[in-house]
């Protein structure tokens, strides 16, 4: 059993020398940039940049797995826009009665690149940051512990579900269900997994919140920290560059 977290200790700039809040800022900037960059090459560049950062953080492999998990979303973007985008004019591909249009496909490409940028940016934060560090950094800056805890809990949902899924899958396998093999077998095995998965994730919530209560969690007022805050050097310029470049892009979009 592992701590429900996707974080894994490694020795890279992102893991060791960049503080959690700067990483959070980086993610926010990438999100904003992804939305405001207008052109296809721009979106492409941004996605490449983010993927490059993941490569530097040595987490590209696991990020690709997360992206693959979102493949259904990406495919549906291409289907919908390719078929129904309002400015569709030029037929690119004809499959039976269905026509895919060039304009729709290029629009879908742009959106997909945005989505990829955002998922990759989010993965960068989640994969390189210990949830404790992020949570403590926020609470030290005056974010209410309750809110910080909720955010951390949301970040933990995916790994928690993955862990439970593995456990339940094992149990099903032990009872002779086919869970491995071709894509369709896997998919059919996944459906009966959903109910126990969701139930088991929620059944303990009451007890857990009780345990938090009796350890003074809902106490208002100041808090102290068991660990001293780690010192990160040279993050101020990084933050300036991040905020500056994002503001630059915003201004260029608004007034340029």
């Amino acid at each position: 059993m592992n701590t429900p977290s996707l974080y894994r200790e490694q020795n890279t700039f992102f893991h060791k020398r960049m503080d959690p809040l700067s990483k959070l800022l980086l993610v926010c900037c990438l999100f904003i940039d992804a939305f405001v960059v207008p052109t296809l090459p721009g979106a492409c560049l941004l996605a490449l940049l983010t993927v490059g950062l993941l490569y530097l953080a040595r987490e590209l492999g696991r990020a690709v797995k997360i992206l693959a998990g979102c493949a259904l979303l990406l495919i549906s973007i291409f289907l919908i826009q390719g078929l129904f985008y309002q400015n569709n004019q030029t037929v690119l591909l004809q499959v039976g009665p269905l026509s895919f249009y060039r304009e729709g496909i290029s629009y879908a490409l742009k959106i997909s690149l945005r989505v990829i940028t955002m998922i990759a940016a989010g993965s960068l934060l989640v994969l390189t940051t210990s949830p404790t560090d992020l949570l403590e950094a926020c609470v030290r800056r005056g974010v209410s512990p309750r809110l910080a805890y909720m955010l951390a809990a949301i970040l933990q949902i995916i790994p928690l579900m993955m862990r439970n899924a593995a456990k339940i899958q094992e149990a099903q396998e032990a009872r002779g269900m086919a869970v491995r093999g071709s894509l369709s077998t896997r998919f059919r095995a996944f459906l009966p997994l959903l109910t126990p998965l969701i139930l088991s994730s929620f059944v303990n919530i009451q007890e857990r919140s009780m345990a938090l209560e009796v350890r003074g969690f809902s106490l208002g007022g100041p808090r102290t920290f068991y660990r001293s805050e780690p010192v990160y050097k040279g993050m101020l310029p990084v933050r300036f560059v991040l905020i500056g470049s994002t503001l630059g892009i915003l201004c260029w979009r608004l007034f340029g």
Binding site: M1, N2, T3, P4, S5, S130, P131, T132, L135, P145, Y149, A152, A153, Q156, N204, E207, R208, M210, A211, L212, E213, V214, R215, G216, F217, S218, L219, G221, P222, R223, T224, F225, Y226, R227, S228
Partner: protein, 282 residues
Amino acid sequence: MIRMQQFTYRYSEMARPALEGINLVIEPGECIGLLGSNGAGKTTLCYAIMGLIPHFFQGDLTGEVRVNNQPVAKMDLAAMSRQVGMVLQNAANQLSGTKMTVEEEIAFGLENFAIAQEEMRERVDWALEILGIAGIRKRNPYQLSGGQLQRVAIASVLVLKPQILLLDEPTSQLDPKGTEEVYQVLRQLRKEGITILLAEHKVEMLAQCCTRLIVLNEGKIMADASPHAVLGHPSLPDWGVEAPVFTQAYQAVVQPHHGEKVPITLRETIERLNQYEQAYRG
């Protein structure tokens, strides 16, 4: 000191009260075992003393619970948790879910109470020491054995220095080795003068460790007396509780007359059977 007076409580969605007409006084330093079959009301009794009833659970309540002479219903839960600590039945649910090491997990409550860092470290060291888990302080709390996890859960509550400790079936998920580890800790805590209330099915362990046993059945107190008196009581099976196997064996062999003090631990049983054998030979 804990005092319950004519305490009756019904969970809002239930038809019957989970506890009915409970009268109880627990003095400082007592170590009390709470017996009863599933659904007898052991957990509910712990919730009532902790103040989770009425602060966390809704329902109908009459009577009163006082801890150190203050009515629990009028105190807030966080303030209560510095006087009374409760270890939940499922130790994994006791974890905050936000800490990556055992020592930080144990410090979680102290952080909430804004204890200064220096004192926090001292208290965490103390708790680690007393539970015998100093060796795993840097480990991930989600990668521990059952016995270790249970001890971390106890430490995380004990670190707030409550005078009263409530443990809800602390060994229900443990093997004999893990169980023994936990009971060693409890014996140590008794020496520290902490009042202990222990809901437990393993009567053999309670017989060794407690000064007093309370039997609950369908929300009512059936017996409240010394371990010898309770475990030798002829109605014990009717209350859904089995006597220790040693006691049962002794009763089957010797067939003691009514009111005789029966042995309740292995050592006592061997002694008494030896006496019996000698008397029989002589």
